[in-house]
Symmetry: D2
């Protein structure tokens, strides 16, 4: 394998050689998607060391495509950065926060000095004693927006301190954002793209592709995804292995894959319909993805984004990233559907793993 040499500078400005980790990658599909995105023949790339994931997701894609596809709905999008300030007391903190809420256009003017795309759309605060945790919420175009939000917050901070001399700086990041950490705030107040994926699968196709029945799948979902997660002390999570699909998808598309921490907090809702079919949905409130920014310039990433139709230069700002989020969500649903189906059958999971890993070793 040829060595790719990239020169980087560390913070003492010495040159270093960068190598590359080679993560196995394959495209699976085809996916059929409807709703906020319409496509029939989409092949989705996933990079992972856990190669049995590919046929598992592929089975989900095949099943849902035969059943009419996956309907995807984008509910919300925003990127956040929280800053941490200190007041003399809670009363002064409250006064400042109430006044600040009336100054959104002033704040936007400050932000616009450094970014064309970042728009302040909301803010929330928590006052704990004399501390202020201020969560700023932005739309950030086609970028996932970590840096754009940090930059905006960095610009706002001096402006806030100048306008509210009674407040002082504590930190540019307050863990109330919150980035790549287990929390409830991202699900409840929003961070990244919130996407709902739904599919209806007739009992016959369940049997043919998934070797199971709608009722068996619903029973397992309730006892494992719902009760099992509650028993484990889970927090806003009700799925089997969404983290796996997101990791594979994020690595293949140049995303900051550490965001699978909040991405993993997805919620399945599964029912038998009055007609006896399977209604299967996966709701992913915190998909943090972009089509521009760090990692997106690599050749294979660009190729993958193109393959997914997420490099449309004529699209509105944000359209490409929204499309990418929709596909990420559908990929997660397919992996959920396939694994849960497998687990309704004693022994199937291990047999499949062994067979596939043995095959891959040949």
């Amino acid at each position: 394998m040829e060595k790719i040499t990239i020169l980087v500078y560390d913070n003492r400005m010495t040159k270093t050689i960068i190598e590359h980790a080679q993560i196995p990658m394959q495209s699976v599909g085809p996916f059929k998607l409807t709703g906020d995105i319409n496509t029939d023949e989409l092949m989705v790339p996933m990079a992972t060391y856990e190669t049995p994931l590919w046929p598992s997701v592929a089975r989900g894609a095949r099943t849902t495509a035969h059943a009419g596809g996956i309907r995807v709905t984008l509910i919300d999008e925003r990127m956040t950065r929280s800053i941490l300030l200190q007041a003399n007391n809670a009363s002064e903190a409250l006064y400042a926060m109430r006044k600040l809420e009336t100054q959104r256009s002033d704040m936007q003017a400050v932000i616009s000095q450094t970014s064309r795309f970042a728009k302040l759309i909301n803010s929330h605060f928590q006052i704990i004693g004399n501390l202020i945790y201020l969560r700023l919420e932005f739309t950030t175009g086609d970028a996932s927006g970590h840096n754009m939000a940090t930059q905006a917050a960095d610009n706002l901070f001096p402006w806030i301190l100048a306008n509210y001399p009674s407040l002082s700086y504590v930190s540019i990041s307050a863990n109330f954002c919150t980035d790549k950490k287990v929390s409830a705030v991202n699900g409840l107040l929003g961070r990244g793209k919130n996407v709902v994926c739904e599919t209806h699968i007739p009992a016959k196709l369940c049997q043919r592709f998934l070797k199971t029945t709608p009722q068996a799948l619903v029973d397992l979902h309730i006892k494992k995804d719902l009760i099992g997660s509650i028993v484990s002390g889970g927090l806003r999570t009700a799925n089997a292995h969404v983290a796996n699909m997101l990791l594979g998808f994020y690595l293949a598309t140049g995303q900051d894959a550490a965001n699978i921490v909040e991405g993993s907090q997805a919620i399945n809702h599964v029912e038998v319909t009055p007609e006896g079919a399977l209604y299967f949905s996966t709701t992913l409130p915190n998909l943090i993805v972009g089509t521009v920014g760090n990692g997106k310039g690599l050749d294979f990433v660009q190729k993958n984004l193109e393959q997914l139709g997420c490099t449309d230069k004529n699209a509105q700002p944000g359209d490409n990233a929204r499309r990418l989020a929709c596909i990420a969500g559908a990929t997660a649903l397919c992996g959920e559907l396939s694994l849960l189906a497998a687990q309704t059958n004693p022994g199937e999971l291990m047999t499949a793993h062994l067979k596939l890993e043995r095959a891959n070793r040949d």
Copy 2:
């Protein structure tokens, strides 16, 4: 770049071509480690799209090395798989679980039929109505142990059903394991390696390398890591960005990086010592790593594991994996130390990001 072609078979046994995602990778250090591992000149590889991470971790390594190193203590290790059974009622469930606890050697005999390494060391159960969530806990040698634990559970299941005819199969995985999902159970009952990393940094070195004081760092830690995480509705998490370091480390060493979900639930504890120095610790209760198994056969992974001293053929089973966990923990500490120091200084974070990213683009 040369294409590596690997033939794999999906579950319809058709051949496919695998490509590779090329994740930028660099070794940072040198690290000085003491305690359960002793090394002076360790260079740690990290693969990530977020390249500013490298100099940030490197700064932490440099600082701690000058200060005498990072003391690493391995507290515990185990891999788990929970299975889901159903009884006629809670009373029968309880009777079965109590009896099962007396049959550990019989269970081990069943497990030993398929694995030399898997040892059942403990089990916990939760009875919810007539459902049984049984969490089996194993040591698994140098493997992270996902598959070994699943295989052991797969073998045990028929044995349990044969010995307890009143119980029936619900699922081979009950979400009480729990794998790659946000929970409290992994921290409280253990999953993976539990590692504590500690360092003492004199005030002078804090100033020289981190441009901050012990007191400023402690203040920020309390308000951000502790209170900020609580405010965000965090669950057993008190850190700034442990997920970033673990992602980079896991990708470079062939780990299943989706396990950063639980890995991210790390807890910093930071104090000013009576002598005015900085005591900085990062406790990582759920480091799920191995030196054998999926992903470890790739050339660059083997090279990285060798570089880390984790391929010693003469070591006791598990020694290589334990060493790897210790290094993972120390890497996380260095990233925490460096970022928190940066955030004590208004503007430093963004300036550093911009400078490094600009440099990397040149």
Copy 3:
């Protein structure tokens, strides 16, 4: 003791005799409060079986009064009820929720038909698959507002179903309110009164009244309230025993004491000031109290509310309840301060318990 006989009707309309549980009750203080409430000589009644609580809270009151009092700030107030609807799919759900957000005045008109006091001030929704969790947020005057919010939701529901024929009824309560259950939503989106209580205690008074130093108390707070709660898998909680004070206060003032579940999720923030004094704060985001409604008509409750100055007939709607919340918060702070101080000294807690309980038995 005289028996009080009240005739009630169960849902088959048969008469029954009601007795009374006699919970020991005492007034403690005097409290000195500043900020959103100003009082010098307030005696606070608490009803509890755990009688050592009285002298403990009294010590906190005495200490803070000598130190200049407790500053109380009311940050927010609202009562919530969530309803549960089902759509054909997430896309229709989203369409309905977005349109509904534009119809707030129509909704208020419906609400106003049955309540003079209930005002719809905000709403939040979560779409999970085809399910809608709609959280309606009201101000409710001097009532804690459970029933007023339920009544408002009950009136709104038929109106919503009539205006959105694609939606169907699932439940009048969706657990997204959430009432008397452990959650993150109440802290993050608000429910009840959000009150911050702060006090500064010079080191000298710390020693005289609390037998401890500011630094010892801060250290304990960090290791117990903050890290200890995180280690326990706590959720938005960082205190020692706020539930105790709220229970005593709620029972004495006719509140629905089951709301101590969310009330217990309070967060202490404690520091040594640059002057070496103790800054001690308790933030209680979910104080659910009222001065009218169920339980308030009992004689001893009225007497207690009067004693607290919370029965002012000339006050603005809501003023009496806000005052009550402020006092509840201050009472909690005093209990926190006193217990934490005791726990800095080995042996003091048990000795005090034994002495007091022995005294009470004499």
Copy 4:
């Protein structure tokens, strides 16, 4: 009403007068219970300001009695106290904890010096940096055991410090117990009595007593108790209003009602059986109750405990308390069943509340 005067001493030993809060109390039932307790005609007292609770619970009791009763299974019992120690580093902390685990009989000898009943049955520790959170677990006979556990810990502490000179005292309570605070630890490691209550109700009786169908109730349970709790950011909780029943029961039986905080973390599991009946279960992992200790000496409490059959002098130590826990659990189940049934019918909840409260005012 006659005034009961009790002389108490605060910590300055001044006499004070105690009054009593008069909480409305009624006995509801009759309950039919099987399993770990056998009774047919049990009337259960509940004290609460929320008087509509009585007929609601009574409906549940009536329904389940007609259906053959509630089967109660006691899964576990223990009371805990965590202590907080500090070591020089994590390695010394680990060494001490491992050695301590081998010294259980020595520890029991120390405990036995002050208590006949407290038995150390297990311990768990968490090491965070150089801090040790040591959770001691006891059985405590018929007492709920807060004080007994604290006393035992208080005795053990000097013994530990004497035997491990490298450890130092931080606090007698570490919030890892955890008492009256929201956490995952109590559910996962146990605190109080863990009780499962189950009942089967034929569809016909569902219709007759609850005006609903098994399927409607199951649907609501899944969408409200399970998904709704997950959406709200709940932690190990899946019920509608268990806190209400526990509050009423705890006040009537002299319990420390602040323990409803952890008591509220109960989990319902509800299914339609193959025969079309309703299987309804409520699992309450943290029922903290006793028949001796604080509050139990009051006349009405003794009378209530007698009425419940929990004052048997010939019973084995702990039997009375276990019986009490079983009844508490069954009471909670009845309230859950009744409220969930009501919420399947639009409008029923509010109508019932209004009717009952109007009736009670007459």
